[in-house]
């Protein structure tokens, strides 16, 4: 049969009919079959049945043979390609048998699988599918219930307060912490606008704060609370809070509500403020401390250079203070300093900064001071103490100040330089009779005599050349064994007149003139020689050496230590190096590198004068320190001053919790020793234990 003859007969029939050769080549396909096969009706198909099925070729060949043999329709299970044809059934039969001239032709009839069996199977498949879906649904409902339960347990147990709202900003849920802080419970708060429940203000301005929920809903992003946000609870209690609001989105990204998470940081805020205060203030007088003052001075020096503005630095030293302190005692000295601080503070102009720089020294940084007003202002500081009589134990003491003035302008080189100039000017004021002020001039440098600063610089240089330094030691005793476990190495300088000069007289000058690294090198070299001498004498004793901050990373010191320890590695465990808290913190990165390098040689470190910096608690974790030396100013009056007691207890506790040993300095009597033993300090040092003496 010709294709057109077949189509004339078959096109009108609704079923899909295909005329095939016995080999499976498609000769013609009626309209329905064209749709079924998705082929082009206008073109002769010229393709094979196999192209439309996934039935393997051998199986297809057998099917074709079965059809080729029978004039009756024989069904065949062909795996049709394509989802829409998958369930069609087909039957084939021989249309025209092969003759000598014509090849056999087959007709293939394709019908949708609508038999009762297929419907039953389809129903079965559909039921299975629905059961699977139902099982999944039930599983996810179980999982959802579990997740919900978990979320509720979490929300009830977490330490943060959580409020959730719907997309209109109405409260839906509060966890117990949120209920406590806001004073509202979930059942009464539900449905109310979040502003009513979460009533927040700016704790400084007292104005209502922008509610993060509304912003979160508008902007569709996580919104943090502004700084200084305070929550006003239902009963009026105020909490300082922190944290954020985040949108709750569904899987399509639609915002369904907001989760507001916050926590009470009132306690943290107070503690932080306290720490910030301690880091910047002198505890005794309440004035700013030296650390803060130097930062401000640095800032002002930069400003003066950049903006061509002018500032003044007053360096005030109290005359005769040492005499009062020595005769009436430290408590009297402290009280005097407090009163003097108040008197100086009363002279401050707006924008000026007053600080206690240490001991009886004060600094004033004066902002935009016209030169013609300099005398008046400087005089007012001298006059501040006129007529002031300090009374203690029935005795009256008078005290005067010497004020050194240095100008800070665009010619100023550095903060250190301006401090040095003010110091020299103060010294000049003292030399000219005290109770006066003096403005620094270059002539002051040449005017410094042998007892002045330049003279001291020359003395130091000479001592380095002539080996005029001497080492003293002071014992450090372990509380547990009551034995001398190490000695602190102390430096003294001798002069041509054989006087022994204490370090307080030359170390500040050496620091100002950059001589400390050379002094430290001398100390390290001499101590190592002493240790080697100890070995030859069969002595095994540890020395604790002080190093200044300017020697951190000093290659000469590293070289001395490395070469000595390379020869005698056993010496390492007999060396402890003391660095002061303030110098370590000021040069923290350098200090850490330096200390780690020396630690790798086996040398141990102690942090000296601990408690004076207040900024260093956090650094304790980072510095490789074995021992903390509690600053003597806290120890000295520990029996009478509850603040000092608290400080020493706290420092000792913190040190122990960080796995570090403690040494208390300035132990000057048995009572203090007993107290330190009671609170668990590990080692002690001071006049009651041992007085400094020449090393031997």
């Amino acid at each position: 049969m010709q294709a057109n003859e077949f189509l004339q007969l078959a096109d009108a029939l609704p079923e899909s009919l295909i005329l095939l050769s016995a080999e499976g080549r498609i000769i013609a396909a009626n309209k329905s079959a064209v749709r079924f096969l998705q082929i082009d009706h206008d073109r002769p198909p010229d393709c094979f049945l196999g192209e439309f099925t996934d039935t393997n070729p051998e199986r297809l060949e057998a099917v074709l043979r079965t059809w080729s043999r029978s004039r009756s329709a024989v069904p065949a299970a062909l795996k049709w390609k394509g989802e829409n044809r998958r369930y069609w059934r087909c039957q084939g039969f021989l249309l025209t048998p092969a003759t000598k001239t014509e090849k056999a032709q087959l007709v293939l009839r394709c019908i949708p699988d609508k038999s009762s069996a297929s419907e039953f199977s389809a129903l079965n498949r559909e039921l299975e599918r629905q059961q699977r879906t139902l099982r999944k649904l039930l599983d996810s409902r179980d999982q959802l219930a579990k997740a919900h339960e978990l979320a509720l347990v979490t929300l009830h147990s977490i330490g943060d307060a959580v409020i959730t709202t719907n997309s209109r900003g109405e409260v839906e849920f509060l966890n117990p912490i949120a209920e406590t802080l806001t004073g509202w419970n979930t059942s009464t708060a539900q449905g109310k606008p979040v502003d009513k429940i979460f009533n927040i203000i700016n704790e400084v301005t007292r104005q209502p704060a922008v509610n993060p929920v509304a912003r979160c809903l508008t902007e569709g992003r996580i919104v943090g609370l502004a700084n200084h946000t305070a929550l006003i609870a239902r009963d009026g209690t105020e909490y300082v809070i922190e944290d954020s609001a985040a949108p709750i989105r569904d899987s399509h990204g639609e915002i369904h509500g907001v989760v507001l998470v916050f926590r009470d940081v009132t306690g943290d805020r107070l503690a932080r403020r306290q720490l910030e205060y301690l880091a910047q203030h002198d505890i005794l007088t309440g004035l700013h401390n030296r650390h803060y003052f130097e930062l401000q001075l640095d800032h002002v020096v930069k400003l003066a250079t950049r903006e061509r503005s002018r500032y003044a630095l007053f360096y005030i030293d109290l005359d005769q203070f040492k005499a009062i302190n020595d005769t009436a005692g430290h408590a009297a000295g402290d009280s005097l300093l407090t009163e003097v601080a108040h008197l100086f503070a009363s002279r401050l102009r707006k924008g000026d900064i007053l600080a206690r720089l240490g001991g009886d020294e004060f600094g004033v940084l004066l902002n935009n001071l016209p030169m013609d007003a300099l005398d008046t202002v400087a005089r007012s500081y001298v006059q501040a103490l006129e007529g002031f009589h300090f009374n203690w134990d029935g005795r009256q003491y008078d005290i005067t100040p010497s004020v050194g003035i240095a100008i800070i302008d665009q010619a100023t080189v550095s903060a250190a330089e301006v401090m040095r100039e003010a110091d020299i000017a103060c010294y000049t004021a003292k030399r000219e009779g005290r109770n006066r002020y003096h403005l620094y001039s270059a002539d002051d440098e040449s005017g410094l005599d042998a007892l002045g600063e330049m003279g001291m610089v020359n003395e130091i240089r000479s001592a380095l050349v002539n080996n005029s330094f001497v080492l003293y030691t002071q014992s450090i005793v372990a509380m547990a064994t009551d034995t001398n476990v190490m000695s602190e190495v102390l430096l003294r300088m001798t002069t041509g007149t054989a006087d022994v000069i204490p370090p307080a007289a030359f170390i500040p000058v050496a620091e100002r003139y950059g001589l400390m690294p050379m002094i430290d090198q001398w100390v390290v070299r001499t101590t190592l020689a002493q240790l080697q001498s100890n070995i030859t004498r069969g002595l095994d004793h540890t020395y604790s050496i002080n190093l200044s901050g300017s020697s951190f990373g000093d290659s000469e010191i590293l070289s001395i230590l490395k070469s000595t320890l390379a020869e005698s590695p056993q010496l390492a465990r007999q060396i402890m190096i003391e660095v002061t808290e303030t110098s370590a913190v000021r040069h923290i990165e350098k200090a850490i590198d330096f200390m780690r390098e020396l630690c790798s040689l086996g040398i141990r470190f102690a942090l000296d004068d601990f408690g004076t910096g207040f900024s260093s608690f956090a650094y304790l974790k980072h510095l490789p320190i074995e021992v903390i030396k509690i600053d003597g100013t806290f120890v000295r009056d520990i029996m009478t001053d509850p603040v000092d007691q608290a400080m020493v207890r706290s420092i000792n506790h913190i040190a122990h919790s960080l796995g570090k040993k403690t040494i208390a300095e300035f132990v000057e009597n048995e009572e203090v020793l007993d107290y330190l033993r009671e609170i668990g300090v590990d080692m002690v040092q001071g006049y009651h234990i041992d007085r400094p003496g020449p090393i031997h």
């Binding site: 079965t66 043999r69 029978s70 004039r71 024989v74 069904p75 065949a76 048998p97 069996a117 039953f120």
Partner: protein, 175 residues
């Protein structure tokens, strides 16, 4: 326990491999007829019958060492194969145009009753063997035990002539 087991194994039940297989076929064909209808069921059985016919044809040709079977051989094979499967076919008549066979016993036994789709097994086995060896066959099932007749009567036309054309049956061609 042992005595119980023995008792069960000695029960006089008519269950054996042969009865089981025949029952199985009866149930399969019955289910097929009920579910897809008699015509479609017959179609499905046709496929099976053709495959069985091809297999048997190969076996006989191999055993007879013949490339093709003659008309006589075909006639003998059709009777023999049925005997081998417990049928009781015999030649009623045979000439150049047709072979007429009778059958007194169906290989499916009484399990064939009301299962006329199973007759497609005979039609296709006979049609396939006849067509593959003689070029053409039209198998006409005039009487069937399955349909309730006492005996089967099967005519196999081996020439495509007027008589064959007028007789009702299924045609088979050599492939």
């Amino acid at each position: 326990m042992t005595s119980n087991k023995t008792e069960v194994s000695r029960l006089p039940l008519s269950i054996d491999s042969d009865i089981f297989l025949r029952s199985l076929l009866r149930e399969l064909s019955g289910t097929l007829e009920e579910v897809v209808g008699l015509t479609e069921a017959a179609g499905f059985v046709s496929i099976v019958g053709q495959h069985i016919g091809e297999w048997m044809d190969r076996e006989y040709r191999k055993a007879l060492c013949a490339e093709h079977l003659s008309q006589q051989q075909v006639s003998d094979v059709l009777v023999d194969l049925k005997k081998r499967i417990n049928g009781d076919f015999y030649v009623i008549s045979a000439d150049h145009d047709r072979i007429v066979l009778g059958n007194r016993y169906c290989p499916f036994g009484d399990k064939v009753l009301d299962r006329t789709s199973l007759c497609m097994m005979t039609s296709n086995v006979f049609g396939t063997i006849s067509a593959e060896n003689l070029g053409y066959a039209k198998v006409c099932l005039h009487n069937t035990i399955a349909g309730g007749d006492k005996e089967c009567k099967v005519t196999i036309h081996i020439n495509h002539n007027t008589t064959a054309a007028q007789d009702e049956g299924r045609e088979y061609y050599k492939t």
